[in-house]
Symmetry: C2
Amino acid sequence: MRPMLILPLLALTAAAPATSPKTPSEAVAAAPASAWKTIPAEDLMVLDVAGNRVVIQLAPAFTPVHAANIRAFAQSGWWNEGRSAIYRVQDNYVVQWGRNETEDPMPAGVVKLPPHEYHRRLRGLVVRPLGFADQYAPRAGFALGWPVAYDPRAGTANLTHCYGYVGVARDLAPDTGSGSELYAIIGHAPRALDRNIAVIGRVVSGMEKLSAFPRGTEALGIYQDRSQDIRIASVRMAADLPAAERPSFQYLDTQSAAFGSYLRLRANRKDDFFTRPAGGVDLCSVTIPVRATPAD
Amino acid sequence: MRPMLILPLLALTAAAPATSPKTPSEAVAAAPASAWKTIPAEDLMVLDVAGNRVVIQLAPAFTPVHAANIRAFAQSGWWNEGRSAIYRVQDNYVVQWGRNETEDPMPAGVVKLPPHEYHRRLRGLVVRPLGFADQYAPRAGFALGWPVAYDPRAGTANLTHCYGYVGVARDLAPDTGSGSELYAIIGHAPRALDRNIAVIGRVVSGMEKLSAFPRGTEALGIYQDRSQDIRIASVRMAADLPAAERPSFQYLDTQSAAFGSYLRLRANRKDDFFTRPAGGVDLCSVTIPVRATPAD
């Protein structure tokens, strides 16, 4: 069977660098080494579940207290050895996992009721504008390698609920969630959640495993029976792993010229397959390029 | 384990009708019977695969030649008895299935190279505007129960690549694809495909099965080995099934007052969970409400 094309949003194989890239993937392939920023090992959470490895990048520049909580949970082994599980998979919405913090006392160093880290001050961020309207905020763009929505008048900026982004499950306000239970977005970006809940990072590897677990059949996609829960073997910070086992990833600097070229081409797909460029793009369709750190 | 809330975009259980609905799901629950339109059985394609049933609504008002092709494929048994398969699942993009038409002569009545049904004339459509900007077209809104992007100046309207929407796989232009191979969107809406490819309908039931198949590991998400392909048992039109086995679905009339209320609340989520309404919404986040036709 010769499958038809339907080109991917971002080609999986690197295209040959060109003087003037014609596709988003060519723009990424043409980026110089200096345009790639290595993610600190302290910001990488390594989740091993059902034989799959999922790596999540934390965003302490936006959610510092939640990032510290999550590091404390991981470093104490709070989630390990089957004490936590994936218990909810709601189609076109979220996969959710964690451990109920009411069962046992929380580990030392965890702030039980963190502040509302739903946005941060815009001041101090250098933002590259998306260049197109956003339905959920006055402006949208990119800062520190993240997609952001922002409000110049209010002076605030927030991370957004794009595909693969990770947030903190919570009960009703004023609860903000400690970080003991987390979710990742597995469908169309539910941006209405922005500024109502803390986005703490994004999946940088293994998302295709996390998104393919069976959907739960109870309300909200909860698995019907606790025996269906998918037990988590361990959640560790990359910095705490032996050097030889430590994963390492880089993101494309959103201030780099290469990213600018990538963004421009995302909004103007025109190649052998795309014959009508849209002349625009939405924030969550501009996936931030991430790669494994090259061996050299 | 007491899971935390993270409310769904649309509650699965019907809320009690209220005089003034406060949430999108309340607005849908409050819709009178007259606001629900039954989908003709001639427009429902029933796909049985690996023990799952997936029902797809065709959109002949937008893609009449492709709809006729698809009916002809289904009625001839073209895809049945394992002659077609799901062979591609690319994360955050598409699940794709079908049968390679070059293997055998196509059934009678199939137009091998259909016209470019990538958009239709705006004239004749009554459109309810979204009310917010769209990054991919001059305007966005709803017509005949479908999300549409449109261009009043050019006089055109097109169906959009939202989650669960189904398009026709094709090779490079001028090929438009016959409809023998199809795909459904399983991630963030890849709207850049709009007007480059024919959208022929949407999944109205079983999407949560279609989206959970394992992702393919080859380029473009193709399964590595043909033995991994997921064989399709049958694809039939609902109209050709015995009455007792015939599925029936209804969509909420996008011209109804109930839909207007639903749309307004989608853009202004404010309830016990959402404390900061966005004051806006993007086209693909306004999922068109669909339900099984009530027994009465």
